[in-house]
Structure formats: C-alpha cells, structure tokens
Symmetry: C2
Subunit: 341 residues, 2 copies
Amino acid sequence: MKQKITLKIIAKEFDVSISTVSKALKNSNEISEEVREKIKAYADYYNYKPNSLALQLRAQKTSVIGVIIPEIVHHFFSTVIDGIEEHANKRGYNVMVCLSNESFEKEVSNISVLTNGSVDGVIVSIARETQKKEDYSHFEMLLKDDFPLVLFDRIVDSLKCDKVIIDDIGGGFKAANHLLEIGSKRIALLTTEDYVTVGALRKVGYRKAMLNAGLEVDEDYVFKINDTENLYAQIEKIFHLEKVPDAILAVNEIYAAIAMKLAIEKGYKIPEDIAVLGFTSGLISKFTSPPLTAITQHGYLMGQQAAELLINRIEHTGPKEFQKEVISTGIKIRKSTYIGG
Amino acid sequence: MKQKITLKIIAKEFDVSISTVSKALKNSNEISEEVREKIKAYADYYNYKPNSLALQLRAQKTSVIGVIIPEIVHHFFSTVIDGIEEHANKRGYNVMVCLSNESFEKEVSNISVLTNGSVDGVIVSIARETQKKEDYSHFEMLLKDDFPLVLFDRIVDSLKCDKVIIDDIGGGFKAANHLLEIGSKRIALLTTEDYVTVGALRKVGYRKAMLNAGLEVDEDYVFKINDTENLYAQIEKIFHLEKVPDAILAVNEIYAAIAMKLAIEKGYKIPEDIAVLGFTSGLISKFTSPPLTAITQHGYLMGQQAAELLINRIEHTGPKEFQKEVISTGIKIRKSTYIGG
DNA sequence: TTGATCAACTACAACGTTTTCGTGTTAATA
DNA sequence: TATTAACACGAAAACGTTGTAGTTGATCAA
C-alpha cells in the first residue's frame, strides 16, 4: 500500500508546522485564510483522513464495541448483531465481531484480545462450554476493573453487569398455554440438556402452564436432546411412548421441524392428531408444511437494547445500577396448531 | 472504567524508567533478574496487557480486517463471515463487520470509516444500490493507493483487485441440466432483476444448458422477481402460463419454497407434475416437504479464500497479479426432483 | 593509573493527532 | 515613543509502546 498522507507530510510540503496544518484543516481562524485554503485544497486532493489510531490513542477511546457470540451462522445471533450494529452506528460506534464457536478457550482469548484497548466495551453471549464449566473468571476480571460488559441471552446471574434476556419462562408458558387452549392434553416437550439455560427456562414455563391448567408434568414426555448426536433418532423416541402425545412443544425450530416431519411420515395428521409448536430462530417455520406455529424472539430489539446498555455504560449516561432488560416473546400462530376455520 | 495499567504506572511504582519496565516484561537480559522478576510479578498481578492501539500505531498495522456486507441476517453472508473469521484468526487477524444494508451511501461511509487506518484491508460484497448506480469511485480511490481490497460474490469486473466468486453460470447450468436429465421439458426460471448479477449469471447457465439440450429459451418462462414487492403474487404468475411448466428452477431458496408451496396448493404433485429446484442459502430447503433439491454454495470456503487473498495482499505473500478465484457449486438432490426409487 | 569491558540501567525518537501555551510581527492606540 | 492588541503561526506535551543509542558505575587487566 502506498504511504498514507499525514499532517507531517502536508506540513513539509508547505514548509509550515504540523500544528498549522491541523488547525487549517479544522478551519481554525488562527490560520490565515490563504494558508488555510491551500492546505485544505491539498489535503482534499490527496484525500487526507486523520489516522484513527492516533485519534483513538489520544482520546483514549476507540468508539468500537466488541461482540462475542457462539456462532454467526445462526438466525437468532445474526439478528442480534444486526440490532447491535444499528444502534451502535446511530451513536457513532463500530462493531467488531468475534466468534467463540461455543469454546471456552476461544471465548477467553477473544476477551483478552478485545480488552487490551481495542474496544470500549463488549457484548457477549456465553459459550456452551463455558456454561458447562461454570468458569466465569475471565468476565470477573473485567468487572473488577469496571470494564463495560453486557451479557445477552446466555447470561449468568452471579456476574454484576448489565444483561438482556429473552423471557424464556414466559415464552415456554405462552407456548404450552396455546397448546392447552386448542385442547391438547398430552404435551411432549423437546428440550435441551439441563445446562443450556434457555432450554431449562422454557421448560419451567411449560411446567408452569401445565400446573396452572391442573395437569401434571410427566417426565416421560420430556425429551432432553443432545445436540451432538443424531437428532432424528433422539426425537423419534417420542413416538415410542405408550400414549403418543397430542402436541409437541419444541424449544427450537429444528427440533420442531424434525418432529413434525417424523410425525407425518408415521401417518399422523398435523395438527389434528398432533399439534406442533416451536421457537423461531430462522425461516424454517414459515416454509414447512404445514407452516409451524412458533414463539418469536425479538433478536433485533435485543441487540439494540444490549448496545444501548453498553454505550450508556461507556458514556456514563443512563443509570448507575446494573440493568436487566427482559425482552418478551411473541407467538406466530400458523397451521401446525390451528384447528378449525 | 478504572484507569488501565500502563508501563508508565509500573515504572513510577518501582522508580525505574519506562524502558526498563518494557524490557523487563520482555525478559530482556539487559535487566537484572531481581528487577525483572518484581516487575513481572507486579504486572501479572495487575493483569497488564500492552495497549494495542499504541502497538498498532507504532507498527503501522492493526491486524484487523474490515468486512462490508449488504446484510447479516442472511445465511449465505453469515457463512462467508464465518469462513473469513476462521482464516483471519488463524493468521492473527481480527474481523470488523460493517453492514451496508444494500445502501450506496452507507457503503461509501463504511469504506471511509474503515480505511482511515483502523483496518489493514477490506473484504466487500457490493450493495444492490451501488450495483444499480454503477458508481464504484469509492473503490477506485482505494485501489489508487494500493489499499488491499477483496471483492466477493457481488463483484465488478472493472475494478482491479482480488476477487472471489461463486461459479454462478456453472451453478445455473448444473441446475438446469439436472432438471433436463430427469426428463423436464419446460423449465420455468425464477430469477432476479437483471442488475443483480447473481441472477443474471445463473440465467446464463440455465440458457446454456437449454441450448445444449437443443431446447429454446422461451422468455415467457423467465420470471424476473422484484424483491421489494409481493413475492407470492409475482411467483404465482407461473401458473397462469398456457402450458404450465414441468419444472421450476429458482435462483434462490425462498423463491423455490414459495413456488413449491403454491404448486402444492394448486394441486400439483411434486416432483411428478412439477420438479422444483433452488439455490440454497439456508436451512429452508432441508425442511420443506418434499425437501428441495438445491445448488449448494460453499460460502465458508468463499470466506476463507477471500481472507486468504486479502491477507496475502496485506503481507505481500502470494502472487503480485490480482487473482480471481471461482468457487464451484455443488448439488444436493432431494425429493423435489427425485423421481423413482 | 589508565583504559577497557561489562552489567544495568535511562533517554529519546517515532508512530499521528490535538491542543495549550507561547512568540514574533505588525498595526493601532495613548 | 512606548504600550498594547490582534494576528498568524510554532513548540511541545500527551496518548502507550518499542528499540536504538547512550550513560552510568564497577570491575579487571596491563
């Protein structure tokens, strides 16, 4: 790459001092109109732009926020990033994205790289492996120095920082309730393993709705899916139950789509024999047949909120106490649970 | 945030010079073991990390690469980012993501922000609006200064830089050929408007396959979809043709899914009456019923290649002439075109 | 005793910018 | 004529780091 043009180079060109050039470009009236104009013309011609590293170093501020997410090829996370980017941009910040790939080690290293001065704050959704390990010392280190940190979606309560979460309990409740309302009696739950908080919380909501309706939760109807093994084989077990359920509540889109596919293959009618409901994380629900009813998560909003909390923290606008924002879910009713009309 | 610890602070603590601290932390044997150890212990205790801005300013290198994409909530683009991130990371770079949201103005501003010294190079997929406008001056400015730039997917031939593209002509050809092989005679093409190069190129491949098979391309069977208007209404026109096609080739997943859905609603059997084929950009194809045959695009590979070209350019490894890498497509045959067996 | 060698440090420039505090010249005022 | 004010510019520090080029004081050989 060609040598970038700097104040020094311009200064030498006109045989003036660096200060003069700096001031001229800032239209300071300390500099005579004549000098000002010729410097500006020259700078313009050579497309001078102040070096941002120098500015950042001087200002002790990068106007960049770091984001660490488990994966990016994922509808929910990319939607959140979109929201973060939108808000960040509006407030003059750029976004640096790092992926943990669900790995503890990579998360730690990302944190370390980002917090050496290259960003003003970070937004994180914690990696699976970290949640499993329950080792949050890398975050604690940051918080000890009051480094601006916002957790979203996959959070941990013990960390004293701002947080944004989806109302997963409410979502689970809403989902189960909808199934109960359309007359389902035996609702199978397709959830994740316990350490995945999202799945666990949705189960709490499911249980709440069941108890609320005077029904017991039969643990035989709860399937904890291991994401690293064959999903079809695990989900197929639903149909081995003595009494096959009349509804399936899946905590994500993929589980729901697979369950529905298997049900159809086995000759069940959707939704007449079995109603199926998932949580959206992409476009799948819309295009299955029948289309899937789904709890919708407002990722974009979540991203905006997270960015807002972070930037408020960085700029010391907003309240001093740590916030915990809860984003409520919606429900998009489609044919997979819609009987009648 | 608390004051970050610097060499200066440590130097003051032990009443030595900044250089001494710097050298001690680098284990230089210019410094006595005694001093070295106490400084290292102190730095370690207070979790000293060299300020990366200072390092970058000094080294005139950020080890960050900028990426500008039209949108991020998009399976293909997020996959590419994944690939970029992987390769970049392997070579010690971080990734800064900016979104153009298909807007010319935002693309220009992103370029401007990124190239003021905050990244060592950029990878770009050009915004729709820019393609429509055909104004590439912001890229030309960069190239004039030999700024490292790699274009991917949505490229423009006149710009002298490294490029990575999907073999869209080959993909279109492969797609049409597959349909011809299973016996389709009247293949409708669902494509984009002409200025979207991806759609245009796939059409070229489609045409090539048709001519190759001795068939003429009937423009009545070519539907140019406008993404900003109602997709269902536009796609539905296929079924108004005098002779309804026996196959539909859609240049993306959504068009294919919608076309298939409409066909089924109208009572056509898939694939017996109409075979449907798309280009994947997500998980939809896998979960429709029947699942959609699709041309697969290796976005991850594309990202890796783009990152490799860029970093080679930055580090002056690799050839001096600009490269144009072509990523070939695959085909995933599923039930929507699979007759027999 | 002189000079050299060596260990263990320090000073300083450089990266590019902004900004405060000079400083010299000219013109106006008392 | 002496003082002051306005004007137009420059010097230098600061942000945090690294590396080269000194600078001490001590030890040692001749």
